[in-house]
């Protein structure tokens, strides 16, 4: 039996690099069609390894949110800020901060679009109101 080298298709680095270019990438399962992001090695639905890298619209809606008032040290200067789980139009969800929306104006179901922040060469995925 010839064994093929196992290689991660969409690495964390590739995923973050696309965010630096303001593009959200993911994977499409060629077996069941499911769209996957953040990156995974197998399709969470059918466990297939046959996945292709795709670009997502970066648009979605707030599935749930919170306002962080006691932040970790790295975000000390930003508090209070809104963090949310965003359900993308293609199906999968991601966790990110919501920037450019007053905390008392946030609600579940609100439409948002991806953006990114760059600080000290570090990239952060964020969303703005759509």
């Amino acid at each position: 039996m010839i064994r093929v080298m196992v290689e991660t298709k969409l690495t964390y680095d590739k995923y973050m690099e696309s965010i630096r270019n303001n593009k959200l990438t993911g994977l499409r399962c060629n077996s069941c069609g499911k769209v996957i992001t953040p990156p995974k090695h197998l399709c969470p639905n059918c466990k297939s390894e046959d996945l292709d890298i795709i670009e997502l619209s970066g648009k979605g809606k707030i599935k749930t949110y919170t306002i962080i008032r006691v932040p970790p040290p790295k975000f000390a200067k930003d508090a209070p800020y809104t963090a949310a789980i965003v359900e993308l139009d293609e199906g999968p969800c991601v966790t990110a901060r919501i920037i450019g929306l007053a905390s008392d104006k946030v609600s579940i179901g609100q439409r948002v679009k991806m953006n990114h922040l760059e600080k000290d060469d570090e990239i952060e995925l964020v969303f703005n109101p759509q």
């Binding site: 964390y12 953040p38 969470p44 599935k63 749930t64 949110y65 919170t66 306002i67 962080i68 008032r69 006691v70 932040p71 970790p72 040290p73 790295k74 975000f75 000390a76 930003d78 800020y81 963090a83 949310a84 789980i85 999968p92 969800c93 991601v94 966790t95 990110a96 901060r97 905390s103 579940i108 952060e124 995925l125």
Partner: protein, 386 residues
């Protein structure tokens, strides 16, 4: 599989023990458990040691041998277990499995934690280590933040109210006031909970468990050994399951699926259902967590646990007492000791040793539910007095 029984339990009071080390707290709980069981150190064949924050807070790895050595039994096999806030119960399950499988007759499972070695900002950072660092912690979400995301989803789906969340804290403080080992032995009013500072909306300070230091230990013995002990309490069900660590990857944010799976395994093994329980200790790291836990365990229907707690169903004299110890909320949450401490509360209640907080024991069956992180790990253990 052989029968396994809990024959000795010991615990420190949970508190901010700034003047005691992780080793000293361990020794106090371990020796307390050995005295309770009337077991000598040389009889212990293995140590399952749970610790979560030691590598970061106390900068000590490889703590298992250190702990065994303080008991003068440094030659026995030790294993240090870490599954975030479920470290203690995961260690308990592995100790249970080793005795059930026939590897050992008498083992110790213990957890100790010294969170007070860290400043609050450092501890806030460290408590998020149980979540997915690459894809969710990067968004500045804290540990309370993850449960706040869950809480808002539960409120949105079921209409869970501010008063229902607060009722969990009020009840658990009321129970903690009756527990001499609790960190907070003081009742709180609903007004105080509802007006406490906001931490991560909708969770306020009194919706959150405290930072705690402490240690808990249990001695397990095989069924054949049980006759030499006074009141052995049998472990009749053990379940453990996992889920995506990242909340965003889960199908439903209003339940911890790992807890439902673990409960299903434990109920099946024990041959009982939630209606057979005399009491339950559940993982109330936040008020919403207790509400969801009692739904995941099948004690209440989905969306009904909030109503039940407000009506008093989970009080010590209620239909099904939940967190008679005061729970993580009032008894305290010394991370890796917590899951073992929950099992100790069940053992003491089934023995009838819980004093002012003693619940009525009818079937002699109690359950302990422990969660790691925001539900990446969950365990359920069912204990019975025969």
């Amino acid at each position: 599989m052989r029968d396994v029984t809990a024959v000795g339990v010991g615990s420190t009071r949970y508190d901010m023990w700034r003047d005691k080390t992780q080793t000293e707290l361990f020794a106090e709980a371990a020796m307390d458990a050995m005295k309770d069981a009337d077991v000598e150190a040389k009889e212990i064949e293995a140590l399952y040691y749970a610790n979560c924050q030691g590598a970061y807070g106390w900068t000590q790895l490889h703590a298992g041998p250190i702990m065994a050595n303080v008991l003068g039994i440094g030659y026995i096999p030790t294993t240090r277990m870490e599954n975030a806030c479920a470290s203690g119960s995961v260690a308990f399950r592995h100790a249970y499995m080793a005795v059930a499988a026939g590897f050992y007759d008498i083992v110790m499972v213990a957890g100790s934690e010294t969170v007070s070695t860290m400043t609050t900002p450092r501890a806030t950072e460290a408590f998020a280590f149980g979540s997915d660092r690459l894809y969710e912690v990067c968004a500045g979400v804290t540990f309370p933040g993850f449960y706040a995301l869950i809480a808002n989803a539960h409120i949105h789906k079921y209409g869970t109210t501010r008063e229902q969340l607060a009722a969990v804290a009020v009840k658990n403080h009321k129970n903690g006031a009756k527990n001499p080992k609790a960190q907070f032995q003081k009742e709180v009013t609903m007004e105080r909970v509802i007006n406490s500072p906001m931490i991560a909306d909708p969770l306020r300070l009194f919706d959150c468990c405290p930072f705690s230091d402490g240690a808990s230990a249990v001695i397990l013995a095989s069924g054949e050994q049980a006759k030499r002990f006074d009141t052995p309490i049998y472990i009749i069900g053990s379940g453990q399951a996992s889920d995506y660590t990242a909340l965003h990857d889960r199908k439903d944010l209003t339940t911890l699926a790992a807890a439902s799976y673990a409960a299903e395994q434990a109920y099946k093994q024990a041959g009982i259902g939630s209606k057979d329980l005399d009491l339950a200790e559940v993982h109330d790291c936040f008020t919403i967590a207790e509400i969801i836990a009692t739904e995941d365990l099948g004690i209440f229907k989905r969306g009904q646990a909030g109503v039940a707690v407000l009506e008093g169903a989970t009080q010590i004299d209620g239909k099904i007492p939940v967190n008679s110890s005061g729970g993580l909320k009032a008894k305290g949450h010394p991370v890796a000791a917590t899951g073992i401490g929950q099992i100790i509360e069940i053992v003491e209640q089934l023995r009838g040793e819980s004093g002012k907080r003693q619940v009525s024991i009818k079937r002699g069956i109690g359950l302990a539910h422990n969660v790691g992180g925001s539900g990446g790990t969950a365990t359920v253990h069912i204990l019975k007095r025969r």
